[in-house]
Symmetry: C2
Subunit: 340 residues, 2 copies
Amino acid sequence: MSVTLHDVARVAGVSIKTVSNVINAYPHIRPATKERVEAAIAELGYTPNLTARSLRSGRSGAIALAVPDLGLAYFAELAASVIEAAEAAGLVVLVEQTGGDRERELELLRSPRLKMTDGLIFSALGMSEADVASLSVGFPLVLLGERIFGGPTDHVTMRNVEAARAATEYLISSGRRRIAVVGAHEGEVVGSAALRMQGYLEALEAHGIAYDDSLIGYTTLWHRSNGARSMTELLEREVPFDAVFGLNDTLALGAMRVLQVSGRRVPEDVAVMGFDDLDEAGYSIPSLTTVDPGRAWIAKTAVATLVERIAGGDVVGPPRLRLADFRIAERESAALAVAR
Amino acid sequence: MSVTLHDVARVAGVSIKTVSNVINAYPHIRPATKERVEAAIAELGYTPNLTARSLRSGRSGAIALAVPDLGLAYFAELAASVIEAAEAAGLVVLVEQTGGDRERELELLRSPRLKMTDGLIFSALGMSEADVASLSVGFPLVLLGERIFGGPTDHVTMRNVEAARAATEYLISSGRRRIAVVGAHEGEVVGSAALRMQGYLEALEAHGIAYDDSLIGYTTLWHRSNGARSMTELLEREVPFDAVFGLNDTLALGAMRVLQVSGRRVPEDVAVMGFDDLDEAGYSIPSLTTVDPGRAWIAKTAVATLVERIAGGDVVGPPRLRLADFRIAERESAALAVAR
DNA sequence: CGGGTACTCTACAACGTTGTAGTCGAGGGA
DNA sequence: TCCCTCGACTACAACGTTGTAGAGTACCCG
């Protein structure tokens, strides 16, 4: 069927090892031999069988990336960044979707589906601290996300608390005092929602603003519709507020829509702050002020960290935690100076 | 390092082939033997080496998906659907990004990077009919997109012309006559832009509406910013129009923003029609009326078609063209009955 | 001119798995 | 009783590649 080293060797009149040597740029080959081999390779259209190479070398040149769902803009953009970073490192990326479901996440870690990869970048959404033991797998693993801290693996993530605090303080600095939240998770203590809420609370406290639970919109998921529904509920409560902090951009955009439909002006009546800095945040009406949590850096660093672990072999250091820098992407929806 | 059949065989006191037989559910094994082997597998935590299995069998259980960019919502949602369909078929998916660049697309087809996969689902954006010969590769390949027709491979795509015509007629049926277009590609004769323009033209002609080039906004890319810029140019021309057909949702949303900033009401003053039915189309302000081109069906069918080719081996039939059904997703931005 | 060394190339084994061809014994039919 | 079949298992080769060890030749230095 396909052309192998044997075929090339036969045509070139050399041993297969010599062909292999030519391909792998082994230095001690006579130019004449090299030419003959290269001619044979070109003539037959030989390409190396990566599977065989992988079996021999123990490396596949592929890594796996597990995310909840590529339909979620944040994870799509994260995956794009990871694939780009991996390509720069000469790796291809196998993408798995877990649906953010704990069972499927655990199963993915156990299953041999990704045994053909050299390692895994894992964005967990359903697992919690209780599942930390499941992360002790026999292959290089870099964890993303904020469900689990202090686990046995390298972990690359964002500064959720600090960034959410900065975002909230940004709103406060523009004179807002009644800051609603959309996307909190009831009773949750781990995960992005909890951490961002913590940052929100720290900012309130630092500025002597009392916490008001009636300003908090709880959701289960972080889809646009959840943001919209949550904002509808907030409006029905008829508690006054002059700003909304969407715990991610998608929620914020959903909420912003409802605000506008209800007749509120953004940012004049209500300022809106997001979190994620999706591509889309720059093009909404008004454009969305949000937190850029350093997604590109996270992707690049996750790949680099995984590559280090893969190359390290038995040289295993302690698990590392690497945190991205963030910045506030200042746009229209929470402009500092507006006529009110 | 890792546990192999040899290790299991030693522990169970049988030959490696027997272990292999147990794993592959070979029927003629004594229950006692089977139990012993299974105990050894459990004890050692053996998982099969997929690379070796793949080398032996010639199948990897992985397929590749090449798209321009996961940062583009359409392709992210397409990839999500493909991965889901592939998982249902027991396959994993390796995702490549080409950037929509012709050179990188051609290189991807030539390179051995995906030699470890069983086949490729390829969404070409930069290639054109002239490159059709490059599609004659030695592995199963299913083409998506509308850059190339009549190529040597199976092709799954949408009914661009019919769908664009239906979308335009939808606008016409609501009384619009001056229908602007955003996203046309200057002088292009292949690709989504050209096909959708053709549908637009057919609709105009069928209803006796004269074509007016001053209503056409040309762009090179289909990003939100291109839609916005193109609409800005249209407004500067000061030609009247009562509807806009964005050749995809992203363009339409970008254009809609500029329309609204300029003071036009949507859909009262200007109706807006998109194409793609992104998740997002349901949540914009106003929600976007658009064409659902059958993305989920395309993904499922592409995987099924590829699986057939992979299983077919040497039984190669003629290339097949499979077209998805479309529908108009009726929402607010082009509501049929509005006060004007 | 002898001995070492560098160069060029080859044979063989191995990576972990599975297909093929067997071995060996038990059981059944004639 | 003999032959044949079938069940249970094993030995070996092969998938395509690369590392290791080594063979053979040419060359340089003393």
